[in-house]
């Protein structure tokens, strides 16, 4: 479709290596998930989803209330909340903080929110050195790429590519064994953890009644980044808030299972404020940056606001047959897959990448697995209609619109519809090659597109209604 990065998509589709990598990785995540959500092992899975959806809906619809509650509880525990309109405000705050505290090296735990505002590049421009510490994120940072997947950022990289990357960027000897590669990263990053002045994390949840942030990781990097540096800054979208610590009983059960098929992720940290007076370690300063960056605009749209329920588990990506073909880098923004498809147009505007909501077969696998029950296909359909409205004047869309107008007009006139159908088969005849007989038709966009991939069934000599009438007549005679 016009506007889509067709060549880039074709490259992905033709890259056999990459195709296998994406398909097996997502396939594995799918089967891991399936094993832990089946009714035999988790009979109340659907009830948990329903509860998660209810809680998210409630929180989003009363968001100001819960954010205020959250902020006052953070303050009560000695932490500080920063309210940021956009990425620039976040960068401003961090640059000032770093300068004031004389910090250059920053360790970062995985955070899609910081990817969204391109935090690393922007901090780099302020002379700071932010280092990603999740292994996958570290790899994509070294490669100067965007994460390929919300929870598996380096899903597209083979061990050989990682080996080259480490040799080139870290000056280590070429190592292709994954276990040893992990050791290399561990030791390089260990140094960074021990000397960094600021640790930045995202937040999987903000807990209003506690003034706490919740972080889940498997590697332990978020624990390192929030334990060793003197200052901890968590950056989170305003939609991440949940009302009560007790709601974690629902969300944590869903998050790990949906993301990687783990009943609970290895480490879950529930952090409220800096270290307390009598505690031995932990940061002295604790900041939470609450980021808007367009979220209030989404919030204003009643119909689509449920996109803000997302807990970034990545299940919709793994189950999406389109993601499994095109991978993560052919989407226009950091958020890929079905969730990317519904939020990108809302953040960047529907005309920014008008093709995006159309790049779906509407199979519904995403909605089926979404732990918070976001009705992704419904939102895609809505976005399609918004694109159509917004592009009303564009010549190609005008043609398409005209086509659908005529089509609708015909469909409301059964006689005409029948006549046109009969004319079609009279002109083109029937059988395999009816389209080929029509001069120029094979070069008509949609027809050409169809035949570029597959054949068409032979056209019947008579329509159903003709057969029906003939049968009726025979019965009467």
């Amino acid at each position: 479709m016009t506007g889509a990065p067709e060549n880039q998509i074709r490259n992905t589709l033709e890259n056999q290596h990459l195709q296998t990598a994406i398909y097996t990785a997502t396939g594995r995540l799918m089967s891991h998930r399936r094993a832990v959500v089946s009714p035999e092992v988790l009979p109340d899975f659907q009830e948990l989803r329903t509860q998660a959806n209810l809680i998210k809906k409630h929180t989003i619809e009363n968001l100001d209330y819960y954010l205020e509650q959250f902020a006052s509880n953070v303050a009560a525990r000695g932490g500080k909340v920063i309210w940021a309109r956009d990425g620039a405000a976040v960068v401003d705050f961090l640059a000032k903080l770093a300068k004031e505290k004389n910090v250059r090296l920053i360790v970062k735990a995985k955070s899609m929110t910081s990817e969204e505002i391109e935090l690393n590049d922007r901090l780099g421009r302020h002379g700071l050195e932010p280092v990603e510490t999740d292994l996958g994120e570290y790899i994509v940072q070294l490669a100067h790429e965007r994460p390929y997947h919300i929870v598996a950022p380096a899903l597209h990289k083979t061990r050989y590519e990682v080996a080259d990357l480490f040799t080139e960027r870290l000056g280590v000897e070429r190592e292709t064994e994954i276990e040893r590669q992990t050791k290399i990263a561990r030791s390089v990053l260990r140094e960074k953890f021990l000397s960094a002045g600021i640790g930045i994390s995202g937040a999987n949840f903000l807990v209003a009644d506690s003034g706490a942030i919740v972080l889940v990781t498997n590697e332990g990097n978020a624990r390192m980044a929030t334990t060793l540096p003197r200052i901890h800054v968590a950056i989170a979208g305003i939609e991440k808030v949940i009302p009560r610590a007790q709601d974690l009983a629902v969300f944590l059960k869903l998050l790990g299972r949906s993301a990687t098929g783990q009943p609970l992720t290895v480490y879950t940290s529930f952090l409220s404020g800096p270290r307390r007076e009598n505690e031995i370690d932990g940061p002295d300063e604790f900041y939470v940056v609450l980021l808007d960056n367009g979220r209030t605009r989404l919030l204003a749209d009643r119909y689509k606001r449920e996109s803000l329920y997302c807990i970034r588990c990545g299940a919709c990506l793994n189950h999406c047959p389109v993601y499994r073909k095109v991978g993560g880098h052919n989407y226009p923004w950091v958020y890929s897959g079905p969730i990317g498809k519904i939020i990108t147009p809302q953040y960047l505007g529907v005309t920014h990448d008008p093709w995006l909501p159309f790049a779906s077969s509407l199979c519904g696998a995403c909605e089926e697995v979404c732990p918070v029950k976001i009705r992704i296909p419904r939102l895609l359909l809505k976005l399609r209609s918004e694109v159509v409205k917004a592009k009303m004047r564009d010549p190609q869309s005008r043609l398409e619109r005209l086509g659908f107008r005529v089509w609708a007009w015909v469909m409301c006139r059964p006689k005409l519809y029948e006549m046109l159908g009969a004319m079609g088969s009279a002109v083109f005849g029937n059988g395999e090659a009816w389209l080929r007989r029509a001069p120029g038709l094979m070069n008509y966009g949609p027809v050409k597109a169809w035949f570029s991939q597959r054949d068409l069934a032979p056209m019947p000599a008579r329509s159903f209604r003709q057969m029906w009438r003939a049968r009726r007549k025979a019965a009467q005679d």
């Binding site: 097996t24 990785a25 594995r28 009830e47 948990l48 209810l54 409630h58 619809e61 009363n62 968001l63 100001d64 209330y65 525990r77 909340v81 309210w83 309109r85 996958g136 790899i139 950022p153 380096a154 990289k157 994954i178 276990e179 992990t182 260990r190 953890f193 807990v207 506690s210 498997n218 590697e219 332990g220 624990r223 390192m224 060793l228 305003i238 009302p243 009560r244 610590a245 007790q246 059960k253 783990q262 009943p263 992720t265 290895v266 480490y267 879950t268 940290s269 529930f270 409220s272 404020g273 307390r276 505690e279 031995i280 370690d281 932990g282 604790f286 609450l290 209030t296 605009r297 919030l299």
Partner: protein, 211 residues
């Protein structure tokens, strides 16, 4: 303040809410606690932890716990947290175990070079094979984080059925500590080719002794 009010007023405008407007009634929390005997909890907890490659021991005495730890660490350096239980077991008296740290920098130096980190745990969760640790003067965060092997000693009465029971017992974890931590098995990654590797940043090995 300005920025806070700006953001909140944008939210209120988007939602059509006014300042100070109370929220609609919040759906009650969903907490389900199954009946389970202590024995069943221990069994469940061990099974789940073992599935994650954790090592387990049900010790019939504190002495047995000490012996296990002594044998495990051998001559290698270890750091023990200030949990009284570890002292009671005699673990802090083992020759290569250092304990009693009250200052962050000393603790950091010790943990950075120790081969083992020994802690207790406030609770364990049977359902998932999870340890629950609150940060406190007795339990620092680093001990279970920096050394490559983590050993935890947990009283058997502290094994809860799962998350739901924990959050019923401790509805407001932040009242207790600045950090509540769940540890479910050894540190791991599958970021390169989905191959599982243990011990990335956190400990690659975990031993839990229930006493």
């Amino acid at each position: 303040m300005q920025k806070k009010d700006d953001l909140l007023s944008r939210i209120r405008a988007a939602l059509g809410r006014s300042v100070g407007q109370p929220p609609a009634p919040l759906p009650p929390p969903r907490l389900r606690i199954p009946e389970m005997s202590v024995e069943a909890r221990i069994e469940r907890f061990f099974k789940n932890l073992e599935n994650l490659a954790g090592k387990t021991l049900l010790a019939s005495s504190l002495e047995e716990a000490r012996c296990y730890v002594a044998q495990l660490i051998g001559e290698q350096p270890a750091v023990a947290s200030n949990a009284p239980l570890l002292r009671e077991c005699g673990i802090t008296d083992l020759p290569t175990v250092r304990s009693g740290f009250a200052c962050e920098s000393d603790l950091r130096a010790a943990c950075a070079s120790a081969a083992f980190g020994i802690t207790s745990a406030d609770y364990a969760l049977a359902d998932t094979g999870t340890l629950v640790l609150f940060s406190s003067p007795e339990e620092a965060r680093m001990v279970s984080l920096l050394p490559p092997v983590h050993v935890a000693v947990v009283p058997r009465g502290r094994i809860l059925t799962g998350l739901d029971e924990l959050l019923t017992e401790v509805p407001l974890p932040a009242d207790r500590s600045s950090s509540m931590l769940f540890i479910t098995g050894p540190s791991r990654t599958a970021d390169i080719e989905q191959i599982l590797v243990r011990g990335v940043h956190g400990p690659g090995e975990i031993h839990v002794i229930v006493v």
